[in-house]
Amino acid sequence: MTKTTPDALPITVRNVTKTYGPVYALDDVSLDVESGEFLTLLGPSGSGKTTLLMVLAGFTRPDQGSLKFGDAEMIRKPPHLRDVGMVFQNYALFPHMTVAGNVGYPLRLRGVSKTEMADRVERALDTVQLGGFGDRRIDQLSGGQKQRVALARSIVFEPRILLMDEPLSALDKKLRDRMQIELRHLHEKLGMTTVYVTHDQREALTMSDRIAVVNHGRIMQLATPEMLYDQPENKFVADFIGDSSFITVTRDGDSLVAAGTTLKTNRPVPDAAKLALMLRPERVHLMDGPREGDTNLFDARVTDLVYQGESYLLYAALEDGTEVAVRGAIRAGTYGNLPKPGETVNLALDAADTVIIADEEG
């Protein structure tokens, strides 16, 4: 399993629509997943991300649309002929088979000889660091081990496309963090085109080459994690990814005003009737005195201060009443010097971090 999958396949989704009665689970979705790419479908529950994955796997039949793996049209192909690997949310490991029985199952179906099967099963188990676990029963495994077996089973037949449906959601946080890195490494090693579904934005940001943010059956934005975080295209994405506060922006001639401050920004301003300023807590700073340069300053009154170990979270109300959050690192002994509720502070936002978005639900 050291070799890279020779020919990972690109996925082309065109105009796929799926309705349940009057509800659009998928609303005219088009999407290109590049060959060998790790793409994440990210969205709240009921957004349609899982439906889209099920369309890729062949378990959900859309009303219309086209789906291609490489050049081959797949939309009407039954799931067992699609030759894609899939990791299910609850793993779906067969309880009446051993670990080796589960991992060897796809090879058995493909008529692989006994000796080659044993060899490939062992290699797949080695790949997920479960070498020697072949004889275990499924109910003897921990959650993390089940996860790995499910992964081994989905890659052992060397599919060119791998689908994952919230595979880490049942694990505790520490294990989840480690598995994220491991999955990422595994992807780099095997190189198969991967579509990953999650509702956890940190997971998406950690693992993905690109992220498609899904809501109401539509793709709200498809971009790299960095672009998604720094330059959201609409308010839904800005709100869903990261913590943000929004301040209404008004036009005053050519200049833009928010909470009494004329904004300086070196970012593009969208051409929309209503605008909002997006404030990320970690991009806002507390200022002792006025500072020159490309910085926007806001007067605010502290309403709350929360200690969170590695950082503090300070809530402050601006002149117009909007409450914004400020996050900063805490160095030993500095927490006591922070402003207390009731005190007035100056909040600073660099022009480079001044992101203005259209103030409407996309």
């Binding site: 796997a57 062949g58 378990f59 039954p78 799931p79 067992h80 002929l81 699609r82 030759d83 894609v84 690997g85 899939m86 299910f88 609850n90 779906a92 490991l93 067969f94 309880p95 009446h96 199952y105 796809p106 179906l109 493909r110 029963r137 499924i138 109910d139 089973r153 989905s154 037949f157």
Partner: protein, 294 residues
């Protein structure tokens, strides 16, 4: 004494008291089992060792070994039970599978219709079969009218009639546990099988069927054990040609007034039933292990 002994005696007393209360609550049930199960079975056991002259004797058991007719009766009992169980599996498994694939609401409706026969008396159902299957009954008349056969054929008062009646009565006992096991099978298992390359047929035989066997096994066992002691249906539909153990017990009492012989037969039937259950329970446990904690 150190702080570690704090309240230890009191807590131990509470624990004892709680156990005593639990025992007190379960004692009526224990008493009931004693009065209606242990004592009568013990008495049955005792009577079976009493000979015709009223003294202790093994003659009731010796008779069973010596007379050929008894061996025939036990053979018939097992034959009828096995055949009934087999036919129940052939009819019940596909039906349970069909029901398990329906949406829950529709499946519940089907379940009610499966259980419907339970609401009418066993005797009524058995005589209903007699009406349907007899020489000039509904089935024969219709078949002749439709030209399926010329002369009325003998469907009842033989092994066929017995099996038809018994299968009808036993079917729900097989369907219920089988259906329960099938419903409990996660649909994702079949999706996973399909995703890994299994055609619907392969997925059924490699995943669905093995996972449904514990329920099928439990249902078959229940049907088989119930059949071993069955009386009404073979008595009415067998027409005296299908003699099972229970019927011999009845004739021992009603015809020969030999309580000892009847009791001995009862004891042997009980021992055989327990043996079947014991052997099966070993298989069942094995089955559950291989099925994982599901």
């Amino acid at each position: 004494m150190a702080v570690t002994d704090m309240n230890a005696a009191g807590l131990r007393r509470d624990e004892r008291l709680e156990r005593l209360k639990l025992f007190g609550l379960s004692s009526p049930a224990l008493l009931l089992v004693l009065v209606i199960l242990v004592i009568p079975v013990g008495w049955l056991f005792y009577v079976s060792f009493i000979g015709a002259d009223g003294t202790f004797s093994m003659e009731n058991y010796e008779r069973m070994i010596k007379r050929k007719s008894y061996a025939r009766i036990f053979y018939t009992t097992f034959e009828v039970s096995l055949l009934t169980t087999g036919i129940c599996i052939l009819i019940g498994y596909p039906l349970a599978y069909f029901m398990s694939q329906l949406p829950a609401k529709l499946a519940n409706l089907c379940l009610i219709t499966v259980l419907l026969p339970f609401w009418t008396s066993l005797l009524v159902r058995t005589y209903a079969w007699l009406v349907l299957l007899q020489k000039n009954g509904l089935v024969n008349n219709w078949a002749i009218n439709l030209g399926l056969w010329e002369e009325p054929i003998k469907i009842v008062h033989n092994l066929n009639g017995t099996l038809i009646g018994m299968v009808h009565i036993m079917l729900p006992f097989l369907i219920l546990p089988t259906y329960g096991a099938m419903r409990a099978i996660d649909r994702d298992y079949l999706k996973a099988a399909a995703n890994l390359g299994a055609s619907p047929r392969r997925a059924f035989w490699t995943v669905f069927f093995p996972l449904s066997t514990p329920g099928l096994f439990a249902g078959s066992l229940m049907v088989f054990v119930l059949c071993l002691g069955f009386f009404v249906t073979p008595a009415v539909l067998g027409g005296g040609k299908v003699i099972m153990v229970s019927m011999k017990i009845v004739s021992n009492i009603e015809l020969f007034v030999n309580w000892g012989a009847a009791s001995a037969l009862g004891v042997v039937l009980l021992v055989l039933t327990v043996a079947v259950l014991w052997i099966a329970s070993r298989f069942l446990r094995l089955e559950q292990i291989t099925a994982g904690g599901h």
